[in-house]
């Protein structure tokens, strides 16, 4: 019998990405897409080649996650060999609600290593990225939440066939009363060849100019650690521009880490850097264990010198 794969998200781009990914898994499975609260996402799923499309229409004031009860019901009715949920924060919450409702296992932010005859094997980071856990689903419906950018994103096309079925959701008990969008990063971190990252070792916001200059000289971009994006007193960068296990992953030729101790949760985001340079005044900082080249010193002396010497070398 033909297998059934579900792909679920509130974002069309992520549905398209997962539909593409399912094809790459080499399966001839039927793809059922669930677009949560966004009709355009449903049309994108249609354009990306889903065989069946549901558009979950949310009640006024209901968060996206409220779709989970109806979604669980539909999955039960139609059956599923694999359920993929795009791992945005909403998606991760929805996936856990769905898994509990279906009494199913869930591999969070995982990669699918094998999809064989009724067996699904996944891998995911644990301990902040220090280790990889590999797990196999042995019973129940396998549910996996998939980090965005796991697969190639196809060009987005909106179509209206196959027909989109609209599903009414339960309102749930959580009321959304407001929304504040935030500044988002316009930097293409994933494609950057050089990334200069700063951590809490940098004292003042005004100092950022120095790192911009360094990145500019090398044809690269700047980024930061999680506290520099999030913590009270910092918030110097848009929140979607920190590197790490819970942030972005980069794969530049050169990664320069400045004034960051190099905790594993941060390093998990730059493990694919070809060359890693660490600058920190504390010679015992873990960053030096993970550097190809390390400079122990005050960044306020080292970075201006670095700029000077790179300029001279050009």
């Amino acid at each position: 019998m033909q297998k059934k794969f579900w792909v679920i998200s509130e974002q069309g781009e992520l549905l398209a990405e997962m539909i593409n990914g399912v094809k790459l898994l080499g399966s001839d499975a039927a793809v059922i897409a669930a677009a949560l609260g966004c009709e355009r996402a449903a049309k994108i799923a249609a354009g990306a080649g889903a065989g069946k499309i549901y558009y979950f229409k949310l009640n006024e004031g209901a968060p996206v996650e409220a779709a989970y009860t109806r979604l669980a019901q539909l999955i039960k009715d139609e059956g599923a060999d694999l359920v993929l949920v795009a791992a945005t924060r909403r998606g991760k919450t929805l996936a856990a609600l769905l898994a509990a409702e279906l009494d199913a296992g869930l591999a969070s932010e995982a990669k699918i290593e094998e999809f064989g005859d009724g067996s699904v094997k996944t891998s995911r980071f644990v301990y902040g990225g220090l280790a990889i856990s590999t797990d196999t689903f042995v019973s129940g419906i396998p549910i996996v939440s998939i980090p965005p950018r796991t697969w190639e994103r196809p060009a987005l096309v909106e179509t209206e066939s196959p027909a989109i079925t609209e599903i009414a959701c339960d309102p749930g008990r959580v009321r959304v009363v407001g929304q504040k969008s935030r500044e988002s990063s316009t930097v293409n971190l994933e494609e950057a060849e050089v990334v200069v990252t700063i951590g809490r070792g940098v004292k003042n916001r005004e100092d950022l100019a120095m790192f911009e200059e360094l990145a500019g000289l090398l044809g690269g971009v700047t980024a930061c650690t999680r506290p520099v994006a999030e913590e009270e007193g910092y918030r110097w960068f848009p929140e979607d521009s920190y590197i790490g296990i819970s942030g972005r992953a980069v794969k530049p030729k050169l990664y320069i880490s400045i004034g960051s101790s190099g905790q594993i949760q941060h390093l998990a985001g730059c493990r694919d850097a070809k060359v890693l340079v660490g600058i920190d005044k504390n010679e015992d900082a873990p960053i030096f264990e993970s550097s190809d080249y390390g400079i122990v010193g005050d960044l306020y002396q080292v970075v201006p010198e670095l700029i000077k010497q790179i300029k001279a070398a050009k």
Binding site: L106, G128, A131, D135, G172
Partner: protein, 257 residues
């Protein structure tokens, strides 16, 4: 009002070493800690108690050594500690953990609010909070970085991928908190001393009426293996002009710059 703060006692990932031969994790030297964001969960519960009056119950489930965590949880301002001892919980599926915690919360009874961390520092599955809510028949609000309680109405700010979502919800509810919701207090010596006098209980699965077949996972773990990238580790210190020139020379030689 009774508030429950769920926390996981985890190995400190900074102490973990990888055996170079077979990539397994050497855990014998690692210290245990209350998972990072769970300290924020406890802190948020205690802050609400301090403002509005409440009893805060710190709840953890885990293998025998997790019992030692109760004192820390109590020193952080919780009023009571409950430990569910079960060795099978080491490395457990969050589905199983949630099942056990839900039963414990029902046994504690008369709860209005359950706080969890957004995810545990070891598995960061981000599942237990939402799963608990389903099992309790409660709603859940995840990734909360601000709470305000007005009577039985909770106003919360959720931090999502592209911005904030402001929500309102009638208690009871499960809330999972981010690491920037508050700054967890560091217990004073006095708080540490008095923690030992607060009520602590240890329950077993049998006390919760849970049988071994109810803690079977849908997932089988195959392996946990170190994933650290090997680097050259050429470290320079001393005069900045000198150290920088050595690194710049090396990068030029490699063709990196």
């Amino acid at each position: 009002m009774r508030i429950i703060a769920c926390y996981k006692y985890v190995l400190d990932e900074q102490d973990l070493k990888i055996n170079p031969e077979n990539k397994t994790l050497a855990t014998d030297r690692a210290a245990w800690k209350i998972s990072d964001y769970d300290r924020n969960a406890i802190e948020e519960a205690v802050r609400i108690k301090e403002q509005l009056g409440a009893t805060v119950v710190a709840l953890t489930a885990g293998p025998a050594q997790a019992k030692a965590s109760l004192k820390d949880a109590l020193a952080r301002g919780s009023d009571e500690g409950i430990f569910i001892q079960e060795d099978a919980l080491r490395g457990a599926d969050p589905a199983v953990t949630a099942r056990i915690l839900a039963r414990a919360i029902e046994k504690i009874g008369d709860c209005d609010l359950v706080f969890c961390g957004e995810g545990a520092s070891d598995d960061y599955a981000q599942q237990v909070g939402p799963r608990l809510a389903v099992l309790l028949g409660w709603p859940v609000v995840t990734y909360v970085n601000r709470t305000q309680l007005e009577g039985s109405l909770l106003k919360a700010e959720r931090k999502l991928d592209n911005g904030m979502e402001l929500v309102e919800i009638e208690l009871p509810t499960v809330v999972t908190v981010t690491g920037d919701i508050n700054v967890p207090r560091i217990p004073s010596l006095k708080q540490i001393m008095s923690a030992g006098k607060k009520p602590m209980q240890t329950w077993t699965l049998a006390d919760l009426g849970i049988t071994p077949d109810q803690i079977v996972s849908n997932l089988r773990n195959e392996s946990v293996k170190g994933a650290v990238v090997e680097r050259k580790r050429q470290i320079f210190k001393g005069d900045p002009v000198e150290t920088v020139s050595q690194v710049v020379a090396a990068l030029i030689k490699e063709g990196t710059i």
